[in-house]
Symmetry: D3
Subunit: 290 residues, 6 copies
């Protein structure tokens, strides 16, 4: 169960010079795949489905609750950046070409559908889609998904910081950058506590002896010219990062044949010309095996 604090913000949000184009850019941090709705729901769904040691569940619940407050801060920042925006582009154009140009980058829906308030969409106006809430049920995989989300989230916050001159916005964004610094460290800390690179390959409950050994530590190259040198690096030789194998590098050659699908069923909505397939025995064989 959750509580609020009467609407008090986690950190101050001030806008000196409202800027509708910047309001639109901020939307990416609300409804973009790098944004706060995503991490909020991602951490909470991971918490609510967590099975195993309770402390990871608790940690996820803490930070998921924090992110809800980040959406709140950003939604407030969008609303404040939209204040005073002209209701009409024509009006703006006639009065002030500079302002008009600035409006070129705004999301027109902020005027015509929200009365100057934030939406759960990205900077292109595409609504957030919850398929981006990654919660796999495997703690280590989830920690990595979270480091990734905080990495692109911090990249976004940095780029927004660089884009604005408004002191209030710079201050708010520096706070969000700082929180992303902590959150990257935090998920990495949990991942290391769980074994770090040594907990790979994920999931570590699968018996690796079932993997064909010619394929699980070899970097294959797919250059048309099999003699071409592939890219060399940590991955092309030495002990594997998980400590379970030796890296090799080889050109790939197909180990499978050209597949031969059976003829279509005479009941399918195909053309007559398809009913004589390449291998007339296949379909009968298949039907026989059912």
């Amino acid at each position: 169960m959750f509580y609020h604090d009467g609407g008090k913000l986690q950190f101050e949000v001030k806008v000196e010079k409202p800027n509708p184009a910047f309001a639109n850019a901020l939307q990416q941090a609300i409804g973009g795949i790098q944004g706060e709705i995503r991490v909020c729901l991602q951490y909470l769904f991971q918490a609510w489905g967590a099975r195993g040691p309770k402390k990871y569940r608790d940690m996820l619940l803490e930070t998921g609750t924090e992110e809800m407050g980040h959406i709140e801060m950003l939604a407030t920042a969008v609303a404040l950046n939209l204040e005073g925006a002209p209701a009409s582009m024509q009006e703006a154009a006639s009065k002030d070409p500079i302002l008009h140009a600035a409006m070129g980058g705004m999301n027109i829906q902020h005027t015509i559908t929200t009365c100057m308030a934030a939406m759960p969409v990205d900077a292109s106006g595409v609504p957030f889609n919850c398929s981006h809430v990654y919660a796999s049920g495997n703690i280590a995989a989830d920690m990595l998904a979270n480091v990734t989300a905080e990495s692109t989230g911090r990249m976004l916050a940095v780029q927004l910081y660089n884009m604005t001159d408004d002191p209030g916005m710079k201050k708010m964004l520096s706070f969000l950058v700082a929180r992303d610094t902590m959150h990257q460290n935090q998920w990495l800390a949990a991942w290391e506590e769980l074994g770090g690179a040594k907990n790979h390959p994920i999931p570590n409950t699968f018996d690796q002896s079932k993997e064909p050994s010619a394929y699980n530590y070899t970097f294959f190259t797919f250059n048309k010219d099999a003699s071409a040198q592939g890219p060399r690096g940590r991955w092309s030789g030495g002990t594997s990062i998980d400590g379970e194998g030796e890296f090799k590098q080889e050109p790939m050659t197909p180990a499978g044949k050209v597949p031969d699908l059976g003829k279509p069923s005479p009941d399918a909505a195909v053309q007559k010309s398809q009913l004589s397939g390449s291998d007339p025995n296949i379909i009968d064989k298949v039907l026989g095996s059912v």
Copy 2:
């Protein structure tokens, strides 16, 4: 530019007992967010947009090309699992209740819209959406996104492996599990080569002195009861994982106030009752600042 091999598969794909419900489960590995369309396009888009050392671009191109062949293998596996499926559920029910039950888990679209072939959708029939192609332009962030994708991809392959008794399918899936083992190691290897945990926080080009220091290495708790003990772990004390700070743990208190949005514009499509806002001076102040 790309080439094929006359349709030869990277690894053999055989199905002894076609199973339409398993065909549906395999769809997740094609068009799910853990699937092969995603990693194929993700690695290629990362390669095509890569700026910086060329070897990472080359490595991404290699593995992106490999993944295209994995989609091919899985699409073949789906088609083979659908062979011999009855065109009609009624027919199946009247003949064989067991088969009918098995069809309960099939995707009816395999019958009525594809004539028994794979689709670029997941196991719920939801089409793959390219917003899941994560390519941030930051090499380290991209490597982490790739480890994450291969972790959930290997989880999925393991779960499909456990779900089937078909020897051909088990063999194909063990190959895919093995490749995911390599790919997890490979992206981790690149991430370590770039500095590993020490290349964090991502992006590492932002001057951390601009971050407010009270916030960037503190794990905040949000329990309603500020005296409650938060979850303890590697993240709650000691040197941070990136080596740039010291972890602390504290209950959070709001550093911001309740925001006061301006009154709505009289031109906006609001109700008259909204025009008397809480602070009548705010909107005038804002309008003055434009």
Copy 3:
């Protein structure tokens, strides 16, 4: 800013007989358009963008916070309903036909992608899309959107209640039904306080004298046979509900002509056969007017 309560649930969630098909049905109450993610984000975005009297903002913040706890309850209920589900359909089928049949209605992704936990998707596996977060900036319109959401939400909860025999699930659902009863009343109360039917038409800041009076209180019929009797009811006569006009009922006849679009531009990617349009003067006239 938001807080949690150490994970304590708003109301008890117990499952006596785990049922994976019911877990899937419950997903509709999490990620469906009638579900809790929707109302949670809807009330919070309405609050964060609210301009005008502060008490509506405060009320929205209260109930938005409550709904976050409802997602938590339902995610817990899904996880508990999935416990003990066989990892393999084949296994289930071989052991117990009844259980196998019950699994026909489950979401296979609960097994293969979440390790038996809830997802932010509906009962068809379609992820929640935030375009359903309705927040118009007009208080009265938002109150109506909320009554609507709570009406379909209560319908869903009632239907889930009727579908299960599990005493724990029935108890949890009766709580959710009760909360939806309150929330319907609450948004209706705010709507009435703002004027009820008399605050219509929304928005009430538009000068109705600009509306062509032949059209704003007439129910038009579109039967091919203009003499056919249209449906009679409160809307076909008497004072309008908003008190601003008199209802009439009339067959519609077109007040506009067949439109005549200009010829395509010779630079457009059209066919040569399109370049001779119906009225050769139109495009020149249009080009002249720019």
Copy 4:
């Protein structure tokens, strides 16, 4: 079955000064969630699925048919606003900076994918998604959904009206505003005829004695500080709007415990570190109960 009128428009659509940015804004009224495709399909699907008194079905069919004509009007308006738009932004920029600026707000797809015609998308270019066609099968809920749609639809039309100086566009929009006035009244009229606030809570076929009475007429507050005063209004005391209870206002305290999910299945794709859960007896208990 449906008929047309040879393409004659319901109301006249004239554009004096084509404006590609306004064409884009008009798209919201076609393919936005407040737009005409939505209400057209919503009313028709409600009609086609209506069970119960026939007159509501008939009324829905009338107005659904009308809305099809509104899409036609708006698609025509978009096409006329695009006439004469330069095929190339470069060309525009070199000729006329003002025109170029105006093109900043256009949807580039109007040039490169439709040869200057309307699309079923909103003002951000996001295609209309039929999940917004709300048709619940409950007449009263559907009437409220319709009042809501017409409220946001009228808001949009008013805002478009305020945005343009073109006399033809203003005239067309005043007609659409007038129709939305009627339609708001009409759906409210049907809702009142069905009992108005007294037909709540929806659905009214559920036996309210099954609702726990501590929860169905109480406005709960979730302030971290339980002694804080919650928002007062019509909802905080007195008889409930549906006439079935007495409003109260109270701070919420959790009635449920922290949930304890079972350990993950050893067959699930989890980490070894997850297999030792908090309560080792839970999973056995659950497995036993299946």
Copy 5:
């Protein structure tokens, strides 16, 4: 402007044995990409945006109006197939295993969200997305899009026809198959009237002398082994179908080099390790050229 006929259906719709699984399959013909919402909106948007000879616009308007009536028929068929379906799966299971199995293929949302009525979704429950409304503004391209839609539409109707034993459903589907026969012919007739294969390549207003002649009539093969025989057919030799060239067949070799993107901007959110790119001069050159 449009009219209805009091709800009379274009063709009779009777269901003798309601079947909820067949109701779900029918959904594909309503909200699938092969379905009636798609063709209805596609033909109407093509009509409303048609520039050039009026008769094509008129033809599109006729058939678009017809398709609206097909949605009506199918929505009715879905509602009738759902009548009498048990409200609860548990109830069904306990009473009748056969019925229970049949319910495995139903869309549970038909029970819990629509009170047994059709939805604008496909047979997987995915809502129709209007991006599938293809309207290019080029008449010939649009005619081909329409033949394609009617081809897959007729395939679907045929497969539904084959799937059911219900005489009423078979009769309704044979009518829809017949209409698709006509509509395929009709769009082909318009395409032939416009020049048939000779109106290609579409658009025919582009001056083909600007096309590099080595590439516009050659079928390239991409086999890794350049000496491999490519697929032979009408496309590998002789006069091209459009009559404008001679078909050839050749193995492709790259005509471009490996691209060299500039280094990332120092202001971008990249890693320090990316700032030393492959060609240090490129970015300066690029910056100079702006």
Copy 6:
């Protein structure tokens, strides 16, 4: 299985004057429904699911492989057009109003989320959705879908060609236009080889004697005024294009009645007022028939 060529491009991609607005327009050719991701996946999925004569499968594999190289070319073109774009709109505005105006048409995500690289989205920023990968399993239907895709693809390439002055971009686009010319011809060639118009109606395996003959070769008109002249053309008389019938033209009259749905189930979440339906016997009859 697939190979690459070390990153060499199929055709040269040069950009003399980077232009972020043109980079955005090019996105349509990558991630739009007319774009290269679509045709690449469409041809490959058609190949992987092809049943029947092997040569069509082989041809699809060839061209699907080619299209992968087209995505690569366009992604490179986008990255090159973004080089040197200012990281900040404010910076651009202060320095150069022309540049600022040019940035009005850019996708802000190219700056804030990709560090100046291509995305799998269209020119409105909407991600590509794989539901547009049309693969029906019927060869002839698939060939038509492919001609359609190449027609709108060539339209798009032509329009991009006309929009740019950059010699490198014009050269690259003329290559893509040429390939689309070939591909249109190629799919038409296959369609003709399969019988051309005479292979219609698709699918040609359905026995046409089951179609009601009054409906399968008649162009119906739906004008409210049945005496109005419908659009005349090749479709209104003479032998049908498929050679199987005679075209007629007639006004449509309904052959079905107004449907009478049963009353709602008393267990459904409806209103009490709905329980008295129009024909009280229907539901009992239906329930009896299950």
